[in-house]
Amino acid sequence: MISSNKQPIYLDNAATTRCDPRVVEAMLPYFSERFGNAGSRNHQFGWEAEDGIEIAREQAAKLIGAQSKEVIFTSGSTESNNLAIKGAAEIYARAAAGQMGRGHIVTAAHEHKAVLDPVRRLMREGFEATFIQPPADGVITAEMVAAALRPDTILVSIMWVNNELGTINEVPQIGRLCHEREVIFHTDATQWVGKMPTNVETDQIDLLSWSGHKIYGPKGVGALYVRRRKPRVRLEALQDGGGQERGMRSGTQNVSGIVGFGKACELCAESMDAEGARLLAMRTRLESELVKRIEVTVVNGHATKRVPNIANISFGFVEGESLMMGVREIACSSGSACTSASLEPSYVLKSLGIGDDLAHSSLRLSLGRWTTEADVDAAIEMIENAVNHLRRLSPLYDLHKEGIDLSKIVWQSH
């Protein structure tokens, strides 16, 4: 249990994924013989680089049902979110910079920081925002968005899939609502695209962010879909310079990264159905076995409206970080943030109204293309053993056994 030379079982695919070898292979020539700058319009090296990028743009567009001209390459979802939110807010603002009342933005309290923080910055710059409080199952519905809309709302940004919970928000319905109300709709689709079928036309999306490294592509490259018609969405660039990416993202393109991103998109489109079914079977087994074997175990988020690869599970009476220590042979994430100065558990779990004790006791286990059934079976055993070990140590488990309601105790907190 102490240590082994074996690599841990990787169940953190929502954090990042291992690059597909076919992606790496596609990228390699762009480090050597095809090293050109896609902006060099007058020689073969430049043309080759540009061709590589345009093939990747086609591959990326195809994965989401867009036209290739609507895809802007970025450094990843954080940049895509920033460009979408700040770029749209500047264009659609109802008052000039420096004034108040520049417009209203709707988002949700359990969004990723890469959405929340750009929105908060805009709030310091004259915009207003509503953060929808998610219900206990974590799913944001079109009704909730409708209730938050105001006459001065200029932008709605709702993620497609929550990164900690795997819950799926009602994106097509929210898209339809936004189009009816003529409000720009952005979705951070980092945990959705590549895993689930996407069509920006039928899903009525104006701006969509996704990232290469979550879909078995390289880190440091992502994309933003920007709708070109009905409506034509305009963005103020965040980065000025050579005018690359239709002027929305200046800077010499990361050619090898973009080529890898395109290949990753193509591979996801090919294997999506079979992979989704395989992952769902494994995740179902993981969740049902843990719930069956360990009492007071709760699967967080909606029971069915979740992507097939993410499980977020709370184990009562044990603390998440110590649980991670007990399962060191599994690489996963914990909702507990005991190492941070705040001692606050995950804001995502807290926003769902999950008690602090259960929020501190959660693991996020996320499966991927390289996860095997043997990995899942081994993980179930390790987690069961670790929870049992920690419950033998847990004063809270004793109180539970004695039938004492933990929520009624007045704690001597620090």
């Binding site: 249990m1 102490i2 009476f317 044990v318 603390e319 998440g320 970080e321 110590s322 220590m325 007990g326 507990s336 005991c338 190492t339 941070s340 100065a341 001692l343 558990p345 008690g355 602090d356 004790d357 501190h360 033998r392 140590l393 847990s394 004063p395 809270l396 488990y397 004793d398 109180l399 004695e402 004492i404 933990l406 704690w411 001597q412 907190s413 620090h414």
Partner: protein, 142 residues
């Protein structure tokens, strides 16, 4: 974050885990002091129980801990250190000694503080109960 070998050892082989009975059983016993510090919402709860002789020697100590590995190790270490000591000696244990022994990083200092607090809290509880018992017995003899 890497854990020190001593933290891992205490985590995997915690010393003196347990209690002297259910919370109801031990509440009335005047030879036992109980310290419970921390709160579930902070991610740490330490429970320390000590059995103290009439002469004020900690004859036995048991702990339970809900918390990270460093919190578990701090409380496990605390039981080792206080066993056999007089209550006054036990009160001289400082959290900094625990930090040093377990090589705790700065973000885990609060774990050692909780362990020190649990020792104080258990001894205070014992003193209160033992003191109350002395008062009661004096009252009975007069």
């Amino acid at each position: 974050m890497a854990y020190s070998p001593k933290v891992i050892d205490h985590y995997e082989h915690p010393r003196n885990v347990g209690s002297f009975g259910t919370s109801k059983d031990v509440a009335a016993r005047r030879d036992i002091g109980i310290g419970i510090v921390g709160a579930p919402e902070c991610g740490d709860v330490m429970q320390l129980q000590i059995r103290v002789s009439d002469a004020g020697i900690i004859e036995d100590a048991k702990f339970k801990c809900f918390g990270c590995g460093s919190a578990i190790a701090s409380s496990s270490l605390a039981t080792e250190w206080i066993k056999g000591k007089s209550v006054d000696e036990a009160l001289t244990i400082r959290n900094t000694q625990i930090v040093e022994e377990l090589s705790l990083p700065p973000v885990k200092i609060h774990c050692s503080v909780l362990a020190e607090d649990s020792i104080r809290s258990a001894i205070e509880d014992w003193k209160k109960k033992a003191g109350a018992a002395v008062v009661a017995s004096n009252y009975a003899t007069t």
